[in-house]
């Protein structure tokens, strides 16, 4: 019985090797800015603006932007937004801060040529 138990644990260990690393890392040729459209960040709906620049500080159009907002603690469903249209290098989406506390927003940008960049932004969200 212990041998069977050990085998099952081994399967668990093997399964751990399946997890993939995040595909995008810091790309020096792309800069990402995230702007929150409110003076005080509190629980509720807001607008997020993402600006994407190249290495010469030119705004980039035509990128795909994925925004994923997570809280620092376990159990809150992430808020995920995909933006596929943008004008003048600016990408806009509605976003809901679903609970007060520590948040981190991962912005992943995919350029038309497939180049990717990912930046993390941290916020403390207050109660209204």
């Amino acid at each position: 019985m212990l041998l069977r138990l050990f085998m099952l644990m081994l399967i668990g260990l093997m399964a751990a090797g399946c997890r993939q690393d995040a595909p995008a890392t810091d790309n020096p040729n792309i800069q990402i800015e995230l702007i929150v459209n409110s003076e005080r960040i509190v629980v509720g709906e807001t607008l997020l603006f993402v600006q994407v620049y190249d290495a010469e500080d030119n705004l980039i159009d035509g990128a795909k932007v994925n925004i994923r907002g997570d809280m620092s603690h376990a159990g809150m469903t992430p808020v995920i937004r995909d933006i596929e249209t943008g004008r003048d290098g600016q990408y806009e989406t509605s976003f809901e801060w679903t609970m007060a506390g520590d948040w981190f927003i991962d912005v992943t940008v995919t350029l038309p040529d497939g180049t990717q960049d990912k930046e993390r932004f941290e916020y403390v969200v207050g109660v209204p």
Binding site: H73, A74, M76, M99, G101, D102, V124
Partner: protein, 494 residues
């Protein structure tokens, strides 16, 4: 009625009963959880550092806690029954057959109170809810502590005297609708080996012939018959927490391991359906000890303090302590907040309340006896506080474990499909109903205790306890009516 023997024997349910009664019944439940625990440790130590994306934090701090309180309310102490930490313990226990007993001075609930305090304190101080790696190490520590203690002592000292999770389950399984009992106590009186507590395990096969009474339909007996009692390596170790099945009056200290059922050579012990909270109405169910009474009362207060750690006022309190008391880090502040809220306040409140109750009722009972009589009344309100808290975390993202598990397996987490949540207003209503319901149940128990203890002076003797229960419920209600705010506290120090 000291022993339990109800009409409904859970272990007679087809398939489920047979599996649970079987030799490997417990292991069948434990193996999946052991594997899951290993997965949690692996993900906690090697997976993403973000708590919301790691199984090590999502499973224990969201789903385990929510499911445990639900199971305690609807079924029984199912987590202890399937506890993964006791699998290596079983091996350790075989090693400790001739070991020492746990020191007598420690055979009480004082360590359990401290371990609960420590767990809740570490949860806040180390932000365990936000740290997969620390949670993984906590799981490892559980396995090690369980193994070492079981190897060192003959009884299951870890379960009975130390384990904070088990202690929580012991206290609140007193509201559960199931309990171990016996079919015929007269059989237990005639039983020679008391295998339910002593076990049927032996390193080598040994056989004993007992004369067992033959019972008539009316329960009387006027003849005996020989019965072969077999001890062997395939036998069961008997009750780890040293409970004798016919004398079990309460779920306290019962891990629901069913070893007593497996060890009983007369098929006399079983798991029965009972009235939820049965033991709370029976004064002889629990020993009249300070450690036991304070455990129950402290655990209810810990529920309030634990919830207080997740609403905005705690950050205001900590900011105030930094400004006015000059604290430079979080540790002393949490020691004060948790020390006062979880230990000092319940202790002082209990002694004052019991003292006032004694004076108002003009009673000759000691403060210890009065506290012991009213302590069971803190179970329903305490359970309601924990239920309200844990069900919030569970219901706000009940399916979040699925996409996290998908990501663990290397797939893309389908968060859209598993983002369902119960509406916050519905959760708020549920919390209010549970808290008020728990309080009313507590009041019924306190009233019964007062009438039993003080008789005609019951009402004045009840008043101080009723006030304490009311304050506890109102404090919890106030906290749960506030918006949740989950922050690491490093921001306080810039």
């Amino acid at each position: 009625m000291a022993y339990l023997n109800s009409a409904v024997d859970v272990l007679q349910v087809p398939v489920i009963g047979r599996i649970l009664r079987g030799r490997w019944g417990r292991l069948i439940l434990q193996v999946p959880l052991v594997i899951f625990a290993v997965v949690l440790v692996i993900d906690g130590l090697t997976g993403p550092v973000e708590a919301s994306r790691n199984l090590a934090t999502v499973a224990p701090w969201v789903h385990y806690r929510g499911l445990v309180v639900l199971a305690l309310l609807l079924a029984g102490n199912l987590f202890c029954m399937a506890c993964p930490f006791t699998v290596p313990r079983t091996l350790a226990k075989h090693l400790s057959i001739r070991g020492k007993r746990f020191p007598k001075i420690l055979r009480n609930k004082w360590i359990a109170i401290l371990s609960l305090f420590t767990l809740f304190f570490l949860y806040e101080w180390l932000d365990l809810w936000a740290s997969p790696a620390l949670t993984a190490w906590l799981i490892v520590a559980y396995f090690v502590a369980s193994f070492v203690m079981e190897a060192a002592f003959t009884e299951s000292a870890f379960c009975k005297y130390v384990c904070p999770l088990g202690t929580f389950n012991f206290v609140y399984s007193s509201v559960s609708p199931t309990q171990i009992g016996v079919k015929n106590p007269a059989m237990c009186a005639a039983c020679v080996g008391k295998e339910c507590v002593n076990g049927s395990y032996a390193p080598q096969v040994a056989i004993r012939i007992d004369q067992i009474p033959v019972f008539n339909a009316d329960g009387s007996s006027n003849s005996t018959q020989p019965k072969e009692i077999r001890y062997s390596p395939a036998g069961t170790l008997g009750c780890g927490t040293e409970l004798f099945a016919p004398q079990i009056k309460s779920n306290l200290d019962c891990t629901f391991c069913l070893d007593c059922v497996r060890a009983c050579p007369h098929d006399n012990a079983s798991l029965f359906i009972r009235q939820p909270g049965r033991e709370l109405t029976q004064p002889e169910s629990w020993a009249k000890r300070w450690d036991l009474s304070l455990l129950v009362i402290c655990l209810a207060f810990m529920g309030v303090t634990n919830a207080f750690g997740m609403v905005p006022p705690i950050y205001e309190l900590q900011a105030w302590m930094i400004r006015n008391l000059g604290f430079q880090n979080e540790l002393p502040m949490l020691v004060i907040i948790f020390g006062v809220g979880n230990l000092l306040l319940p202790l002082v409140a209990t002694v004052i309340t019991a003292g006032l109750s004694k004076v108002f009722a003009d009673s000759d009972f000691s403060v210890r006896e009065i506290t012991a009589a009213f302590a069971p009344a803190f179970v329903p309100v305490g359970f309601a506080i924990w239920f309200a808290h844990y069900s919030f975390h569970f219901l706000i993202a009940p399916f979040s474990i699925f996409p996290v598990f998908q990501e663990f397996l290397g797939q893309s987490g389908n968060w859209a499909a598993f983002s369902g949540a119960v509406d916050l207003q519905v959760i708020g209503l549920l919390q209010m109903v549970v808290l008020v319901g728990g309080f009313l149940w507590s009041m019924v128990l306190a009233q019964r205790a007062a009438l039993r203890l003080y008789q005609r002076a019951g009402l004045p003797g009840l008043l101080p306890w009723a006030l304490l229960l009311l304050l506890l419920m109102l404090a919890a209600l106030n906290i749960f009516s506030m918006p949740m705010e989950m922050r690491g506290t490093n921001f306080l120090f810039g």
